[in-house]
Amino acid sequence: MDIVTQVLSGVFAVGPVAAMIGASILGVFIGALPGLNPVMAIALLLPLTYSMEPLVALGMVAGIYNGSMYGGAIPAILLRIPGTPAAIATTFDGYPMAQRGEASRALKIACWSSALGGTASAIALMTIGPILARATLAFGPAEYFWIAMFGMASIGVLVGTDAIKGLMAATLGLLLGTVGLDQLSGTPRFTFDQVWLLSGLDLIVILVGLYALPPVIALAEAADLKGLSAAQLKLEPAKVPWSEVRSFVPTWIRSSLIGIGVGILPGAGGNIAAFLSYNAAKSASDDPDSFGKGNPAGVAAAECGNNADNAASMIPALTLGIPGNVIAALVLGALLIHGLQPGPQLFHQNPGLVGGFMVQMLLTSLLILAVGGAAATKVFAQVQRLPGVLLVPTILVLMAVGVYVINGRVVDLWIMFAAGLAGYVFEKVNVPLAPIVLGLILGPMAEQNVRRALLISRGDVTELVTRPISAVIALATLGLIVYPVASAIMRRRRAA
């Protein structure tokens, strides 16, 4: 009881409340602008809070983190630009919905799903987190290898009808993922003596190009001089009937669990959570073919999954002192500044502060409903009123600025445009883009971890499957490959 009052009185002071609200609004905007990302924003703003109360700094981190994860969905739906890497899967069904004139409905679903995913994750952080954190230590390189393989096997779900083109796309992604310094031998691969290629191709640079440029070119081709008039813009009330809300419940539960599971593992991020959630929703659906063509459940799954990753990714940081991503590392840094040593004793030493941060992660998830639902969605949906001749240059400038600020390198702009032109051609010849991205994310993860595992086992391959957790994930991967084939054969037999 004592702790509860201590936590709540800390959180509901003026400073922390203002920080949460301000940061949530800011976070939505940061997420919505491609290239600007929460890591950058938090890194820039944290030093300003060093002299303030710790809960002001932590409230700000929570607001920006949760807000931006939802904000990323806004350009993903309206323009097919993933505002953050985690918003990729949101473009799959969100953009087709927007093109059908259901932009505000898609935004509303994204908003609710983000809030729910974030809330579920924060509850996990407060309750089961400390228990599960210890268990994640059992995951070594061999297990991470199989997680990556599991993700890759799920590409099968994404490729749709043309398996050959899907596999080609995935292979291209894997190839792109090999560019750069080999992390295990220090050998440069496919760098052609160019210093800027040493660290490989930056994921967000490729993503922004690949996904955002083709629709911009399409807009330019249409060369429309008028946008939607205020009357045409279907803004409100974006009706999401109760029956539909109820139909999302299984998706939300599934995606929340996936997001929490991925988040708690250090090193796997919101983009993987969103992809796996999306795939799970598609596999579970009665009508999987409707995914990718504007199925609202796809938006719900992706947005719920990537927000459910957030608070859970703080679990290893707060309980073990192991930051699973850069934002968690920044939170640990902020705690250190205030004289708190992250690690197993943190909660016992300062329950008010840690508990307060957990409550802030919960409150900022709920704030998405207010900030996103009421304000941001309406503001950003106005984008559709801009005529193409204004929209095209505006988007191009935003893309260029966003990509430049990531690494401060002009060459990234050329990579982005090259990726964009390639994406345009791929779309014309019906090569799916998602497998490229998945290959790029999962290829390096699989390769580095299998090689680490083999270094540890001194080259003994059987250790990859004899460890119990590895064996389970390996079997699940096998099931993921065999099941669709088997069910297709069964369906054909039944039909015959």
Binding site: I42, A43, F139, P188, L320, L336, N407, G408, R409, L455
Partner: protein, 316 residues
């Protein structure tokens, strides 16, 4: 003779004039690492203090990639005006050139000042059959190839720091490169690698809880926070000290008066109590070395690491 004198005094005059006016506009500081990392946070904190000391604003430019080499290479194109500086840790300057083909070397800079430093440590689980630094090295030497140690990346400074010690003692241990100290710690606590190799602050809570036994630090002197760990001096390995340290550099050919002005400003700001306190939270201590002494420190470290890299077969 007269013209020469006039010329010389004009030169002297213009030099003092340049100093008197410096800094008259904003200074750009390149950080060859992404926003949010250790080098970035230290430099940003220092920049806020330096802005006050110099009375000008400081713009920070993060240029990430290639373990720092991308940012340093881009920085090399800047002119030595005193308005573009590099805030880096030692690896891009002394370690990365051993394994990558880069366009700069340790003499491509005007050294201004080092700012802070910290040692790396190596830790084992409580049931490891050694209780001292000496016994730890003896156990490793007795069982070549048996133990695995996690480090911050292949050819990284941490691996070099460990291998310098190992090579001096004829030890063979299997290096497992991870993405950083956090990942190494996770794999050490999970029992996937035998030895934690990395910075001190992440592992500190586990020495207190008894889950990690830190037996060696890579500095010559022992570290107060790790009483069980031996410094290299007491193992007769004092010459093999390798630290993680940070510094501010300018492009080669910077006016000495401006370099001195900057070094003096850094000396003041680094030793500011608020910065010392900030460093302490990261397990770092201030250590300001300026001018020629800094150039020598860089050169010595570069030469020592070149030998280690060659022995490892990493050198080019």
């Amino acid at each position: 003779m007269k013209t020469l004198l006039i010329g010389a005094s004009a030169l002297a005059l213009s030099a003092t004039a340049a100093l008197a006016e410096y800094p008259e506009r904003a200074i750009e500081v390149t950080i060859p690492a992404p926003a949010g990392g250790g080098t970035d946070t230290s430099a940003r904190k220092l920049a806020t203090l330096l802005e006050e000391e110099l009375g000008t604003s400081i713009a920070i430019l993060n240029v990430a990639g290639g373990g720092g080499s991308v940012g340093v290479t881009q920085f090399m194109m800047d002119k030595p005006t005193g308005y573009s500086l590099l805030a880096t840790w030692n690896s891009p300057i002394t370690t990365v050139p051993q394994v990558q083909n880069v366009a700069y070397d340790v003499d491509s800079f005007t050294p201004i000042a080092s700012t802070s430093e910290t040692a790396y440590t190596m830790c084992v689980s409580p049931d490891f059959p050694a209780e001292t630094g000496e016994a730890f090295l003896a156990e490793l030497a007795a069982k070549p190839g048996k133990y695995t140690y996690g480090n911050d990346g292949i050819g990284g400074t941490m691996q070099m720091a460990a291998e310098r010690i190992f090579q001096a003692r004829g030890i063979e241990a299997v290096a497992i490169p991870f993405g950083g100290a956090g990942e190494t710690l996770q794999n050490f606590l999970g029992g996937h690698v035998d030895i934690y190799g990395g910075s001190i602050s992440p592992v500190l809570p586990y020495t207190e809880s008894g889950e990690a036994k830190c037996l060696i630090v890579t500095s010559a002197a022992p570290v107060e926070a790790l009483p069980q760990a031996a410094g290299l001096e007491e193992l007769d390995l004092g010459a093999e000290e390798t630290l993680l340290w940070r510094m501010v550099l300018a492009p080669a050919g910077l006016d000495q008066a401006i370099a001195d002005r900057l070094a003096a400003a850094l000396e003041t700001t680094v030793n500011d109590p608020s910065y010392v306190e900030f460093l302490a939270t990261k397990g770092e201590v201030p250590n300001v070395v300026t001018g020629e002494a800094l150039a020598e420190r860089l050169r010595n470290e570069y030469d020592a690491l070149a030998k280690v890299a060659a022995n490892l077969g990493l050198g080019q």
